[in-house]
Amino acid sequence: SMREYLAPVLKNSRFKDTGCLTPEEFVAAGEFLVYKCPTWSWEGGLDDKKRDYLPSDKQFLVTRNVPCLRRAVQMEYTNDDVETQLIHNQDTNDDDGWMYTHSSRVPTVMADIAHTMIGDEDEEEEEKKEMQRRLENLTVKDDKEEEEEEEIPDLDDIPDMEDTFEEDDPARADTHEVNDKILQVRTYDVFITYDKYYQTPRMWLFGYDEERRPLTSQQVFEDVTQDYVKKTVTIETHPHLNLSLASIHPCKHAEVMKKIIERMGDGVNAGLASNEDTGIRVDQYLIIFLKFMSSVVPTIDYDHTISA
């Protein structure tokens, strides 16, 4: 975009003061992430979309085929769900009612801070009401109905090519029979790009359904914490690919990251640094960033940094 084009490249490190990253710091943090979690890798993207302030083979980070076991919508609105209760019982100190903290990996503090991403209270109220209305429409349907709705047009679409030219194969394990819920899951490709205008990383999501067909943006929104849907999560064109996909808008990223960094620097242990750490290093930025992002997309299990 023009705005991004005109913005100067950030030269001096200011990540502790502002939460922003220089392109060099982005690359350093990316290297650390790739080292810590080999499921992430660098990609160069399309040649005509290369940014010259990043190495040409390290334009953005990606991790593919990340399973997403259930919908964020389900997580939030099935309060008497056994699982939800379970987690609430475990987290006894978690009584401030943040729905998304039962993605048990996200420290409450983080979700708390992340909430500053959402602006005005009133606006939020209104949005919530509207969401509620939309959700009611959504949740009336049960899974089966949705499935049928999806599949009917497809059946018409698929040319009839049924002929039994393959005989029975007794040694073929039937994946449809074993357990649909477990085997057939949505998956996501998760991208992290560098946003030059906001001088922060930016996360993008591209989803596939249980049959590996691309998800529509409406379906992707089911996997986003409802408070963020359409407010900070938008559909835009990937800066390095010809795809339009969901992205978490980076306008508040620096602010949130700064708060997290401050807290951790002050010795407030958000569960990310060990006690000896006096503050965080810039190469740990993306690891923290991912944990912060997991409050937005609680059901997408891209974060394998816990053990690291």
Partner: protein, 330 residues
């Protein structure tokens, strides 16, 4: 006796691959519907924990990335390369009328030739192959496709499971598993795309050694128990599809009727081990010398979302159609 079952691949095509195909169709292939080679990949099977802490296995996927048309693939570090071909037709009618039986026979005989000639022992990467038939409706941004993963099967009986799959930890201690991991990493860096299949030997001292398939004759002594390993895309109770051609190779080239197999998964501690055997009345090719050239029976078409033998469709309209994009943009 139970039959050893194999978990079929699920094709997972990157949306960006369809874009590449659309672009190549317009600018490069144009009206040519000649077959072209592709490079796909799979990653070793793994289980993950759901929010309740229960282990959940993910179905094996054959991934087709946007760079699949390129000669040298850039696949993830932990992935295994799979070679394949694509036949893209010009019209939906052509797609429907394709001689699928002939294409299948061609692919199956190509695979069998690799096994028969011993080529697959030198280049085990050839054992796992696929082909895909496609039609790209560039006006509606819809892509019709049908994958096939040919695998020869024995007749009349199938491989039996002598010893059910058990975790590798039941046969190797943690030192041995670590040494297996180290040895295999070495093999992977030297063999590259051919490292999905390998040999494993347990020394009497307990040490683990790993070798490539072409060292078979020297690798095992008479007293050794031969173990064959393969990178298993499945994380489920049945091993993945790539084991089928390996069993055919083991039977045909090494004359084995019983085999111990390590299904290498990620992380390595979750790998599985099984023993399988082929009933003596079973063969891949008829014994009758007149029919020596007959191709073994093969299977491998992917089923669609309705679990039927039929093509799938990917609708990229919402992602590529400029009119529909304008609707969703903010």
């Amino acid at each position: 006796m139970t039959i050893l079952q194999f978990t079929p691949f699920s094709s997972a095509v990157d949306a960006a691959f369809w874009q590449t195909l659309a672009e190549k169709k317009l600018n490069e292939f144009q009206l040519s519907d000649q077959s072209r080679s592709l490079l796909g990949y799979y990653t070793p099977g793994h289980a993950l924990l759901d929010t309740q802490g229960q282990s959940v296995a993910v179905a094996p996927r054959l991934c087709l990335p946007s760079q699949a048309f390129e000669k040298t693939s850039t696949i993830p570090a932990n992935a295994f390369q799979v070679t394949g071909t694509i036949t893209n037709t010009n019209t939906i009618q052509d797609f429907q009328k394709l001689d699928r039986q002939a294409l299948f026979q061609e692919a199956a005989s190509k695979l069998w030739n690799c096994i028969e000639s011993g080529e697959a022992i030198k280049h085990p990467g050839l054992l796992c192959q696929f082909f895909v038939l496609t039609f790209a409706d560039l006006k509606k941004y819809k892509f019709y496709y049908w994958f096939c993963f040919p695998a020869p099967i024995p007749q009349p009986s199938q491989w039996q499971l002598d010893k059910p799959m058990t975790p590798i930890t039941s046969e190797m201690n943690s030192d041995q598993i670590q040494s297996l991991a180290k040895e295999y990493a070495k093999l992977r860096s030297s063999q590259g795309p051919d490292s999905a299949y390998f040999l494993i030997k347990k020394h009497t001292s307990g040490n683990i050694r790993v070798g490539s398939l072409d060292t078979w004759d020297d690798f095992f002594n008479r007293s050794d128990e031969p173990i064959v390993g393969f990178a298993d895309p499945s994380g489920l109770a049945s091993p993945g599809w790539p084991l089928r051609p390996l069993l055919a190779l083991a039977h045909h080239s090494w004359g084995l009727n019983t085999l111990k197999v390590v299904c290498y998964r990620d992380p390595i501690e979750t790998s599985q081990i099984l023993v399988t055997s082929l009933p003596t009345d079973s063969l891949y090719q008829p014994k009758d010398s007149k029919q020596k050239d007959t191709l073994p029976k093969s299977v491998g078409w992917e089923r669609n979302a309705q679990a039927k033998l039929g093509p799938r469709v990917a609708d990229l309209g919402p992602l590529m159609d400029p009119l529909r994009l304008a609707d969703t943009s903010v």
